[in-house]
């Protein structure tokens, strides 16, 4: 549904230019989703780094990342949390977004394919004729699980993909509505503890170990009109990143994450935290782009280097 919606949004964008909502001075509206990788941003807010730059961060939490880019284009957000696949699709469809900043590394160690224990699903080959759950078809999770199936001797054409929201995947798996699921960190931890389930593989590790699934982005139009504000945002975010890197494994970080994700702290303590990536990596993005091309997710070629914001 969202892919179609995005198509409509893009088509409309080309036809008519949409007036941007005028942001109040010194306030930045940032869309976020409840995920632990946003910890540096929350740290920056909590410890006043943004305030010291004269910025007020107005957080707009949403349940999923799907509305990040439409919201950005519609002027609801100044800066959005989004994933690499959505960003590349947007650029290919003529929406001029720029990737501003990277997130903590380690996606490859957190996101896993899970299945029922004892059914012998170990590789992509074992999934022939089976059903695999992804959160959204034709998006990042779908793209990488297909590539993983290919790399491990299977054929994605023989696998049925079903859209299931992350929180429902474990139940769907146990009720045998699906046979495997590509799942995010919180639920991978839960599945690891469930005697009926097992972790099959960490697909990113096998497909693209240094993948950067998420970035902060903004439209070029916004960036050019707010150069100073963007620079201050990145400066404060950098301090947040430094705080984050310095507190990995420490109580302050666990309680910060538990606070904004509302997760029980015991669960947060089991998460794996790795330092923030130094930059948005063009090479990794090109790999993602090539995978998308192969799956027919990109209608036009994208110059990845031009997508990455350079101060």
């Amino acid at each position: 549904m969202f892919v179609v919606a995005r198509g409509i949004v893009c088509a409309l964008l080309i036809v008519c230019s949409v007036p941007c909502r005028a942001a109040e001075p010194a306030t930045l509206r940032v869309s976020v989703i409840p995920t632990s990788v946003l910890a540096p941003l929350y740290a920056g807010i909590k410890y006043g780094y943004f305030k010291e730059e004269g910025l007020n961060i107005d957080l707009a939490p949403t349940a999923g990342g799907a509305i990040g880019i439409p919201g950005l284009v519609g002027g609801s957000y100044d800066i959005a949390f989004s994933n690499n696949v959505s960003a590349l699709s947007a650029v290919a469809q003529g929406i001029d977004v720029q990737l501003l900043a990277p997130f903590p590394e380690g996606a490859a160690d957190e996101t896993a394919v899970i299945a029922r224990k004892g059914e012998g699903i170990k590789t992509g080959r074992d999934l022939a004729g089976k059903t695999v759950a992804v959160n959204t078809n034709r998006n990042v999770i779908w793209l990488y699980v297909r590539e993983w199936i290919r790399k491990t001797g299977g054929d994605p054409a023989q696998v049925t993909f079903r859209e299931v929201a992350f929180p429902q995947m474990i139940d769907a798996l146990k009720q045998k509505q699906i046979d495997a699921a590509f799942q995010i960190n919180v639920f991978v931890i839960a599945a690891g503890k469930d005697p009926a389930l097992e972790i099959v593989s960490f697909p990113y590790r096998e497909v693209q170990p240094k993948v950067q699934p998420s970035q902060f982005l903004a439209t070029r139009k916004f960036i050019e009109g707010n150069k100073d504000k963007v620079a201050r945002f990145l400066k404060a975010l950098k301090r947040g990143n430094e705080w984050f890197d310095a507190h990995i494994g420490k109580d302050e970080l666990f309680s910060l994450v538990a606070e904004f994700t509302k997760l029980p702290e015991a669960v947060v303590r089991e998460m794996k935290f790795q330092p923030v990536a130094k930059k948005v990596d063009a090479d990794e993005l090109e790999k993602t782009r090539d995978l998308m091309k192969r799956e027919g997710l990109l209608k036009a070629d994208v110059d990845v280097k031009k997508m990455i914001y350079a101060e």
Binding site: V9, L12, A63, G64, P70, G74, S76, D171, K262, P264
Partner: protein, 272 residues
């Protein structure tokens, strides 16, 4: 009542159980059914018939719900949802009633607007939310628009149909008293259509609530819809169900309130 007395035979004083049964009357069975379902839920979770992190025992949910009464997130979220639902509902209702009556009475407007309305009507509201983000943003404008849209259709359809069934004698009566067109609409057609409008309005209350929640799930920063999703990701199904429970109670209360208001304000309902 006297029948019950006879059935109880010789006993002159009805037993305590009998009096409760009488007071609850036929509702007793409905209450018992709900109690049985909740009991089954509790037992199935406690004894592990259904094993899922998203199937907490009812008592745990109730406890979560009660603990929220002291001013928790659920009530704040519920207030946000209700505020949106009410705003959208008001806009959609006013437009639905006005257009329903105008189109019902004016052939020109009917020809001009009815096709558009018929085309938009079958589109499920949640489907229009994502493309609308471009124009209305992700905030209240979007949600209130979606709620208004969802409210508009049942109100409009009922009003429009209601106007068509207003008896011609009533209109002719107004004409013989040389009542102006506008006054006839306002003083005759509108009140004569009120029972039909009320039926549409009542259907729309639950729709407004549902669409408010759905729109918050898609593009929410606050409200029960967003809270539900947030609690799913936060592994707090007890709070999620507690929020659902509050929502159900709200829906039920709104419906009851509506019925009471209906009886009060439209005493002629079903009498013409």
């Amino acid at each position: 009542m006297s029948v019950v007395g006879t059935l109880e035979g010789a006993s002159s004083k009805p037993s305590a159980a009998g009096s409760i049964r009488r007071r609850l009357g036929p509702r007793l069975y409905g209450v018992l059914l709900i109690a049985a379902i909740l009991l089954f839920w509790e037992v199935s979770s406690r004894l592990g018939w259904i094993v899922s992190a998203y199937w907490p025992p009812v008592t745990k949910i109730l406890w979560a719900a009660i603990s929220q009464l002291g001013g928790g997130d659920i009530l704040v979220s519920l207030a946000a949802t209700l505020r949106r639902a009410l705003t959208g509902y008001a806009i959609g209702s006013v437009l639905g009633i006005a257009l329903g009556i105008l189109l019902g009475k004016s052939k020109v407007l009917r020809i001009a607007l009815l096709p558009l309305i018929e085309i938009v009507r079958p589109i499920p509201t949640p489907a229009v939310i994502p493309p609308l983000i471009l124009f209305l943003g992700v905030d209240d404008a979007l949600k209130i628009f979606a709620i208004s849209l969802a409210t508009f259709f049942p109100v409009f359809t009922n009003t429009f149909a209601g106007v068509a069934t207003v008896d011609d004698t009533l209109i002719q009566t107004a004409r013989t008293f040389r009542t102006s067109w506008a006054r006839t609409l306002l003083r005759v057609v509108l009140p004569a259509t009120l029972p039909a409008i009320a039926a549409g309005l009542r259907t729309a209350t639950s729709l407004a609530l549902v669409v408010a929640v759905v729109s918050e799930m898609v593009a929410g920063s606050s409200g029960i819809g967003y809270y539900l999703v947030e609690m799913q990701y936060a592994l707090r199904p007890d709070l999620m169900y507690a929020a659902v429970m509050y929502l159900a109670i709200t829906g039920y209360a709104v419906n009851r309130l509506f019925l009471v208001l209906e009886a009060r304000l439209i005493p002629w309902m079903g009498k013409t």
